[in-house]
Amino acid sequence: MGKRLSYVIIFLLSDFLLDFVLRGQTSFLKFAAGAVFLLVFFFMGRQILSQYQTASILFGIFSLAVAYSTFLSTTSIYYSFWFNSLLGLLLASVLSCILTLKPALSLRYLAFLTLHGSIFIVAAGLLINSFWARRCYLPLHRGIEVNYCHPIEHNRVLEAKEKFPFPLKLLDFRVDYYSRPLVLGVFLRQGDKFKIIRTFELKKGREYFGLKFQGFEESEIRVKEFWGEGEKGRAPLGRISPRGWVYSRQAFPGMIAIVDGKERRFYLPEKGQAIVLPDAVVIIEDFYREIPGHNMELPTLALRVYSASGQGRAFLPEGPKGISLGSAHLFYSLSQEMPQILSPAEVFVQEKTVKFYRAEFLYQGEPVELLPFEEPYVAGKFAFRLFRAPSQEREYISIVQVPGRKMKLRVNHPENYRGFLFYQSDYNPSDPDFSGIMAVGEPGSPFLYLGFILMALGAILTLVYRRKQWS
C-alpha cells in the first residue's frame, strides 16, 4: 500500500512540476514551489524510481504514448499536461538509476558517463529553452520593412503580433526549379488499362531502344535535337510557318527524333498554352493527369477552344467549348470547323467510351505531332508515350536586409544575427513577392549540440569498451 501511494504522489508531484516548467510559466512563486516539490519528489520517490523495472515500465508507457500520438492528426498531445508529466517522470527515473551507480576510473565508466550524461545535457538544454527560447514567424513582402513577428507556440504560428528587436526587409525572393526534361514512358497493357513500367529521360543524341521486350524489339527512338528551352533557341512556330495558320504564342518545346528510322517532329504542349489558329484559339486547359504515377492510365488533354477576333488578339469564349466532353467529341468538332486539323485517326481506345485522337499540325509544311496525342507505339502489349517531367522545386532563396548587412537565406542554410537564427520557412506560390522567415533564439542550443555530440561519442565508446570485453 505504501509503495502504491508513493507512486501516486510521485506522479502527481511530477505532473505539477513539469506542467509549469514545460509550459514556460516562469513566475518566481511557481518556480520556488516547483523546487520544493522537486526535493520532496526525490526524497520520496527515488527508491522506487531508481529501479530498472520502473524505468523500463516508464519507457514502455512513454513509447506507447508516443506511438499512440502518431495515429492522431494533431500534435497538441506533445504539449499536453500528461504527456510532459510522463516524459519528466521518465527522465527522473533514468537520473535516479544513474545516481545509484558508483563512479570509477575506467573505460566502462567513461563510456557510461558520456552516453548517459548526454541525455541530461540535452534535457538541460530543453529546460533552458522552455524558459528563454523565442521563436517567431516574419511574413516578409518585397521592399517592405517589417518590425513585428507572429510568435510560434507548439509548432503553430499564432495570429498575435509581437515587436521584433530590429527591422527586416525582403530585397529579393526566388524559387529555383530543376530542369524539366522530356521523358519517354513505357507502358504495359493489362486488360483495358495501360500501366507504366518505367520512364527514361531523353537526352540529345542518345538512342532509346525498345527494352527488348516481346513484340517491342523493333522500336527505336533516337533524339536528334530539342527545340526550345535553350537547345535551339526560342522559335515561335507561327512566324515561320509557310501556311500561316499554325501559330504558338510561346516557345516551341519540342524535339526532332528518329523513330524506327524515320524522322519525326514532336511538339509538347504546356498547361495554359495557347495555339492560335486563323479562326480559333486552342488553349490547353489541363492535363487529365500530368504526373504519371502507379497504375496510371495514359493521360490526355482537356482543351478549351475560343473563337478569335481582331486578328487573333482578343479571345472570346465562343464556339465549340467542349472542355469535358471528351477528346473524341472535341476533335470531331474541331476537324469539322477547322480544316487545318487533319482527319483524326483513332489511335487508342481506353476504358469506357473515351477515345483518343491525333491532331496534326504543320511546321514548314511538315507534320508536327502533339506529344500527348502522338500515336502511341503500341506493339503487342506495350506502348510508348512522351511527356515532359513534372516541375520540382530545387531551392528557395530570400535576400533579407537587416541593419548593417544583407542575409541570403536558403533551406538548410540559416543565418545568425544578433542572437537569432533566421530560417527560410515558407513561401506563397501565388505571390512571388512574399517569403516567410522564421527567427529562432534559443539560449539552450549549445547544450543541445553538446548533448547530441556526447551521445554519439558515448555510443562509440560503449562499443569500444564492449569489443574489448568480447576479445
Binding site: 523500463s56 508516443v66 517531367a389 520540382q392 533551406v411 542550443s445 560503449t462 562499443l463
Partner: protein, 279 residues
Amino acid sequence: MELIYYRIISEGPLFWGSIISFLASAVFYLSSVGRRKYKALANVTFLLGFLLLTLYIILAWVGSGQPPFKTMFQSLVFLIWNVTLIYFVLEKSENLYFLGGPTSLFNSLVLVFSVIFADLIKVNLPPALRSAWFVPHVVLYFVGYSFLFIGFLMSVLFLFFPSRKYLGEKHWSGQRWKDYDLFSYKAILYGFVFLTLGLSVGAIWAKGAWGAFWSWDPKENWALITWMVYLVYLHMRYVKGWKGKRAAWLAILGFLVVAMTYMGVNYLPSAASALHAYQ
C-alpha cells in the same frame, strides 16, 4: 506479377542480375547446411550479387547526380546493399555462415518487392534534403537497421528453428546453437550504436533545416521508440541478465518497430503532413 516482372527487367541487367545472384546464393547456402560442398559457390554468388548491386547504386548516383536514397525504392535497394555488406563482414569475422541462406533469400525477395515502389520518374531532392547531413544520416541509419536485421534473424532462428537440427555439436562450422543468442546481442549492440549516431546527426541536421532539434514528427517518434526498445533490451541484458528466449522476443519486437519506423509510418494518418514525408 507481369508488371513486376517487366519492372525488374526494365531496371537493367545489374538489378535483375543481383536478384538472380542472391537467389542462387540462397539455394547454395541452404544446400550447404551440414556439408561443405557448395560453400564456395554460395560465397561467390553472394559476392556477385553484392558487386552488381554496388555498381547499380553507383551508376544511379552518377546518372542522377544525387545520392540515390530519396525514394522508397532507392532506400530499399540501399538497405539490401547494407545488409549484404554487413552480413558478409560478419560471416568472415564471426563465422556466421548459417545465416547466409536466409539473408540471401531476404535480399532477393526485398529487391523483387522494391519494384512495386519503382521510381517511374526521376525524383529530385527537395530543398530540405539538399544538405551535407543527408548522406551520413541515411547511411548511419541503414547500417544500424542492417545490424538490427541480422540480430532479428538470429533471434528468429534461436526461437523457431532449433538449431541442433541443422548445426550439431560436430558441425564443420564449429558453431553451436547457443551462439545465436550471443551473436544476436552483438549485432543489436552495433545496431544500437549506429541508431544513436543516426539520431544525433539527425537532430543536429534538423536544427539547421527546420530550426528545431526535435519536432515530434511521426518518423522521429517511431525512431525514438525504436531506440528506446533497444535501449531497454541492452539494459535488461546488462543489468537483469536477460538472455535466451526473453531477449530474443524483445529483439523480434524491436525489429517489428524498426519495420514500422521504416515503412509503416508512411501509412499513418499523420504522415501526409509530416516533415519526413517527401515521397
